[in-house]
Symmetry: C2
Subunit: 358 residues, 2 copies
């Protein structure tokens, strides 16, 4: 048997409910595939703030670093919304990404035939969408310095941030994106604002330079405003997208909403070495927390990404993905993806049905 | 008779074709409303680059400043895409906005009942969408300093930009947005990334402060990633949106694509005093330039905004808007908005039909 240590970070809102389902799914899958998981649950986000006063306790980061992979539920909630920056749940997440050095965020947006009606886009526009956004996650305006509050040369009070990319940061995310595109449709679209921003001009230059290492991948460039339009107009034109931290934040959320089922979408954040961070792309949904209404499938599919990208356990990963599709085929739906003729279930029951499918 | 001087900036691609239509529409409307226009045509963008070597010649900016309003076609094209920053058509547009100090960009996105099928969104999601994006246009990361290329403390080569807002910049755009919302549905949604960026934290603080001057307008806040999703999920929830320069660039383009008819959408850019800048939101469409295929209605509606917001000629403005609707009702469509059962026309013929409707 292979043994792995997994740090579970349930976090806030519906986080604990969906993590509990994903944990059971991992355990059963492991027992069938000869894998033994050691789980360690640690606090992060609002939960950690309430418990320890900080959104990412040292023990949590240490446990995460020492494990083979990290599975996160969700963070945030109204309760902490007015907190100062260092005491925001979001800050804990950013510190975790930085601490784990997971610079490459992979976010698939796939319209499943079973769920095509969930999209607000017309059927013929939505069906068949299958794209992967590769977002730079530990650089750019999220982390750039200088940042803060101050006064400008005229004495006006200002707030400011720095959008900055170094060549090595662009090169390494570009390689991840080209590798990703190579395993998919061999088409990579780099999204930037190189007609205005110097940081984007360097971005475009370096992506073009790295593309010479991947002659089999077709590279194109698109301005971010146009990309935001094209995702609505014809999302099927995209195979793999690479973009910076803030544009990736915006566009990958837009892309996921285009599928209409953000309760289904996982993500993987990977570094050069060390454990990856896996999490559903949805938020903590405080309005339905604790009501057994959450869709656990995004977290279950994040566990599948954990197996594939984090541990190299492709077969076990595939088993989970197949089980999720089978559960959908058998007509089980949580409220967010429910449509007539199907069976409405809660979070726990959905979890049980996935176990049945496995 | 009232007399106004209008600077016409046809620019590149389809720009000259659509400006020529809008000029005729202004002229006829003026003659019926007792308005006399003096038109002055000047080069900008790629056209100016070819003619003078710079994308915004001094004479063009001077003429624009001395006129009562400026009507722009479109700028840019493949030919100049690889140019260095100071010789990009886009730089001319940015210099024009800066030179005219037009800090408030109003971009309506309206789904007309006649064109609801043009949207890629389902009919029930698209119909009735009527929102106004108020984008800050002369600040933020577009103009923030320091910017450029260099090396960081580790000696890595970097490209960088500064996202920066001063209180006075936020306050003045907030007032424009609240005034705009007051004349519409009295709901203002401020979009930022205050969970991560200091510039956004100051933005949110000031928008909240200014809101006390407008107790009749309901203010809400939304993170930019969520806004990108909500525009796809349920665009009807929005009345007026206020956001910064770069988020406004992305979201207003997304919003316009949601209408499915970006060939129909105008924009107005206004300052504290001095002439406003009016332009269609679509680009220069080099692929169809010179083929009499462009939809001139966005520019015609920009001329209507020019009359209303730039000159205070509400009645003349209304006349143009009514004529455009009448032309659509009579079934005339350019290729971009064509659907079965209607009459396909070119740019010039569409212009003639608008004149007929007037
Ligand atoms: C919670 C927030 C800080 C985060 C981000 O902006 O990266 C989230 O929106 C995401 O995309 O994971
Ligand atoms: C052409 C470009 C510089 C411009 C911008 O980014 O502002 C355009 O996209 C717009 O929205 O008017």
């Amino acid at each position: 048997t292979r043994r792995y240590t997994i740090t579970l970070l349930p976090g806030d809102g519906i986080g604990p409910e969906v993590i509990s389902v994903a944990k059971n799914v991992l355990q059963l899958t492991g027992s069938l595939e000869g894998i033994e998981f050691g789980f360690k649950e640690m606090p992060v986000g609002g939960a950690a703030l309430d418990l320890t006063g900080v959104p990412l306790p040292e023990e949590t980061l240490l446990a995460a670093k020492q494990s083979d992979a990290v599975l996160l539920g969700a963070i945030g909630g109204y309760k902490w919304d007015e907190n100062q920056k260092h005491f925001k749940p979001e800050t804990g997440l950013l510190q975790l990404r930085e601490g784990l050095k997971v610079f490459a965020n992979l976010r698939p947006a796939c319209v499943l035939p079973q769920l095509v009606d969930a999209s607000t886009l017309k059927k013929e526009v939505a069906e068949g969408v299958d794209l992967m956004a590769v977002r730079e996650l530990t650089g750019g305006i999220y982390f750039g310095k200088p940042r803060g509050f101050g006064t400008n040369e005229n004495g006006d009070e200002i707030g400011f941030n720095t959008e900055v990319y170094a060549i090595y940061e662009i090169d390494r995310i570009a390689r991840v994106a080209f590798e990703t595109a190579r395993k998919r449709g061999r088409k990579l679209c780099s999204v930037d604002k190189a007609n205005v921003l110097e940081a984007s001009m360097l971005w475009r230059q370096r992506v073009m330079a790295i593309s010479s290492e991947y002659p089999d991948v077709e590279l194109s460039h698109m301005y971010v405003d146009n990309a935001a339009m094209q995702l609505v107009r014809n999302p099927k034109q995209f195979d793999t997208i690479i973009t910076n931290n803030i544009f990736g934040d915006i566009l990958s959320d837009e892309a996921s909403m285009i599928t209409g089922s953000i309760g289904m979408l996982p993500s993987a954040s990977l570094g050069e070495a060390g454990p990856g961070l896996f999490e559903p792309i949805h938020g903590s949904a405080p309005d339905i927390a604790g009501q057994d209404k959450a869709n656990p499938l995004a977290t279950v599919l994040s566990a599948a990404m954990l197996l594939k990208y984090g541990l190299g356990e492709e077969k076990a990963s595939q088993r989970i993905e197949t089980a999720v599709l089978d559960t959908l085929n058998r007509g089980f739906r949580t409220g967010d993806i429910y449509s007539e003729g199907n069976k409405l279930v809660g979070c726990k029951e959905m979890g049980k049905e996935v176990l049945n499918s496995i």
